[in-house]
Amino acid sequence: MTNHWRDLKNADLILINGANPAEAHPVGFQWFVKAKLDPSRGPGQGGGAKIVHADPRFTRTSALADTYLRIRTGTDAAYFGGLINYVLQNNLIHADYVRDYTNASWIVKQGYSFQDGLFSGYDKTKRTYDISTWAYETLPPANPGDTFARRDPTLQDPSSVFQLLKAHYARYTPEMVESITGIPKADFLKVAALVGEMGKPDKVMSIVYAVGLTHHTTGGQLIRSAAILQLLLGNVGRPGGGVNAERGHANIQGNTDHAISWEILPGYMKIPAPGQRTLDDFVAQSAPKKSDPNSWNFFGTNYKNFTVSLLKAWFGAAATADNDFAFNFIPKPAVNSSWISIFDQALKGNMEGLLLSGMTATSIGPDSNQVLQGLAKLKWLVVMDAFATTSSEFWRAPGQKPAEIQTEVFMLPTTHWIEKEGSFVNSGRWAQWKDQVIPPQGNARHDHWILADLFDRVRKLYGSAGGKFPDPIKAMTLQYADPLKPTFDELAREINGKDLTTGKQMASFAALKADGTTTAGNWIYTSSYTESGNNMKRRQGVDNPAANDPTGMGFYPNWAWSWPLNRRILYNRASADLAGNPWDPKRPGIKWDGTKWVGDVPDYPPTMKPVTQDPTAWLPFIMNGEGTGRLFSNSMVDGPFAEHYEPIESPIPNPLHASQSESPVAFLYDQAAGRPNRFGKPEQYPYVATSYRLTEHEHYITQHVPLLVGLQPQAFVEVPKELADQKGIKNGDRVRVSSARGILEVAALVTKRLGPMTVGGKKVYHIGIPIHWGFVGIAAERNPELAKHWLANALTPFVGDANSRTPEFKAFLVDIKKIE
């Protein structure tokens, strides 16, 4: 989240897309309701914030919303595109913010185009774009190396980002929105009128999303479309605003930050690429570049400091200026190595071993049957978990023949959350420390102690037997009292980093250096554990709001710690105007008091004067090269502006450009590997399926919790009443849902929550699929026969978003029949 959970109470309007917080994040949803019940919030004269829920299914979130829009799954870019067009055509944008705080005035160089669903630079054979034309026109350099962009502050230049944006979204008329999304024009226009009010400086809107936006081959761009709308309305960086991902696991945020992710190093630095021979090559090709003289480009400027400090944390004395700080110890991947790629490589016979910690590949999917084949091709599989999973048990899954599966499987019992201390980071970026409450059950061990012990054994093998490139293995720092059992405290200190000259914990990442005299395991966590102690343990909460929430904005700065630097709202320089006054004095983020910025921890130099007093002051978005929010971005591989593409399996051709219906660069794993694609056509699979969670379960682990299994005891799908009537399906009947990949056999829940819609002139139904069941757990043990086909992801396609390779769990085609 750019903002945080409690901050939702500050909004006037909340758009919820691809999410169902009332059921999936019920306690977080209280802050939405608080905004609704606060008469000082809301459009017009107030009277309470308004909530708009766009979702294919009417949920408890819809029930508490002011407006429910039944939207076809995967079409949110058309919905946001329509809103972008509406605020542009009706001149409802926050004009000052757009001119000064976004890249609207940047001039795009000649050669950029968009036609018939394709941006310039497309290579049909490779299914990729050459993005060199998605760039700014640069000015003749005043100083060598300058790459400053030409700008037109009037925004009238036809090649300006603003004019290109306007032209791009002009196609998203209310009629087109209706045709793509299924939202009736009149309903759309009512919502558009509310959204249009949010460009006023004293109004603010929040957009909240979850995996209903990410789990698409267009996931990255669905979110970009929301971000573009928020920038046009001037709602990014402000309390009550932002673009906010809910996130679904207790520490998914923390461990994304710490880069258990193929493409990044801790703190969102890129993984080095082949051909980057030196640290300087890496920094030159990875760090953002300054495109305006007033851009600070803080991240780009400090990229090398952060990288060297990381290498010093990992490789200690072995990282020296002479060996480029052991830059070559970091592996350089040749190809995408994300989740689906792991199983793709296994299917190809290239993956020998897999370690799964708290993740069950079989259930997570996509395409569980193909994942099972992949697991059976591994030489060895290690499952580190507190409970049996569909991966630890994969070799005896229904239909599998254990005698034919040569994978050696190791089940290692781990401690779970309450048996260990350490921090969990919530979606609002708050790192909250937890105690060890009880000792480990049985012989369970902490995940990282298992890894420390394993590492020690591997290292000893390299010491005694030799082997490939043992240098990093020998050099890795293990400065822990017991190297086999690093404590949470020791690791938290290492993550924060220290000054090697003084031996003191670093207080800020701004002081990290590239000369090898500082360390930081993860620069965005620097200041979480300073000389004054572990700030994540702080507990000054709502017991005393007057003392603990001095601004009254809900920041609670001494409750836990949030990255970066305990800042509660990212980009908060944009919450104030050029002179440093909050856009809405009643809802300040930060404010210039004449000598310094006060309020939240400023996302800006604390004493830098506003640009009205100092023309050399930095632009507000200090982390990117522009210094402004990007309406046009070349950091996406599928287009600088968000565009609506159909899901890979769609009931209709794309109403915008039927010749390029789906994303031209979505990654089709099977096709790329020479396997058949296995996509269904609407003639055989006429219904749109989407998957989701229920309140009572969390993915799969809750299948081991008796009370929760009691509340939601068995697998089911939701079937719209009208369709059920046509198909002779009654509530409680067993049904077979099939896709081109697999089947699901479960009970039918016949409901009015799902209903028909008309898209592209065609009537379309959604089938709703909760994801929680499989062949492991209490419910499956009670009903082993019924549970044979309970894996929701047996249905889902083996495809990925072009940017992130996120699977398309939320939009695919199925058929449904009653099991007689």
Binding site: W262, M411, P413, G541
Partner: protein, 194 residues
């Protein structure tokens, strides 16, 4: 802190609710519940945790008591009223966290399944970790690429993948990344994408 501790807070809350809850039964249910609650946690240790499920990050208060044999008993988990995130509230998952915390369904010993076998065999940690370490080294040595075809130094292990981390502490996640990158892994993944 303003001098009101958590138990006082509960009492104040209960007293307010009590005026409403004085029931037809002839006694104050809320007060009875408070007394029952206090008896349950009397003399216990109060610790803090975070809910293990979604990413809202609800704070939990956990009460434990030391048994005569030295073991620790978990008495109660409830929402932490001090938290600016949840202000004491929990959803059905968080409210049943006790059943995840202590469960007869836990795997308590390492289990080994040999290639082609149709059953698990209990093994000790030493057996398991030695065997995994040998597998790890063999796979690393077989699939390690020091230089690619273009002659670039790439130092990567192609044939081993690590995935995990949305449920363990950040410090463990940081350590996992450090170890796996040091071992040359490029296939590194957690729950964010799926």
């Amino acid at each position: 802190m303003n001098g009101i501790n958590r138990r006082d807070f509960l009492k104040v809350g209960a007293a307010t609710a009590g005026a409403v809850a004085a029931s037809g039964l002839g006694f104050d249910l809320a007060r009875a519940n408070t007394i029952k609650q206090n008896l349950k946690i009397a003399g216990s240790q109060e610790l803090h945790s975070i809910c293990p499920y979604c990413a809202v990050g609800c704070s939990l208060v956990a009460y434990t008591r030391r048994n005569a044999d030295g073991s620790t008993r978990l008495l109660q988990i409830e929402g932490d009223p001090s938290s600016p995130v949840n202000e004491g509230r929990l959803c059905p998952k968080g409210a049943t966290a006790m059943q995840l915390a202590v469960s007869r369904r836990r795997i308590e010993k390492p289990l080994y399944r040999a290639p082609g076998s149709n059953s698990w065999v209990e093994k000790d940690w030493n057996f398991m970790l030695d065997k995994i370490a040998q597998n790890f080294k063999a796979s690393r040595d077989r699939t390690f690429v020091a230089q690619d075809v273009a002659g670039n130094t790439v130092n990567r292990t192609e044939g081993i993948a690590f995935a995990g981390g949305a449920a363990f502490s950040s410090e463990e996640g940081y350590f996992a990344t450090k170890v796996m990158r040091t071992l040359g892994l490029v296939h590194l993944e957690q729950q964010a994408r799926v």
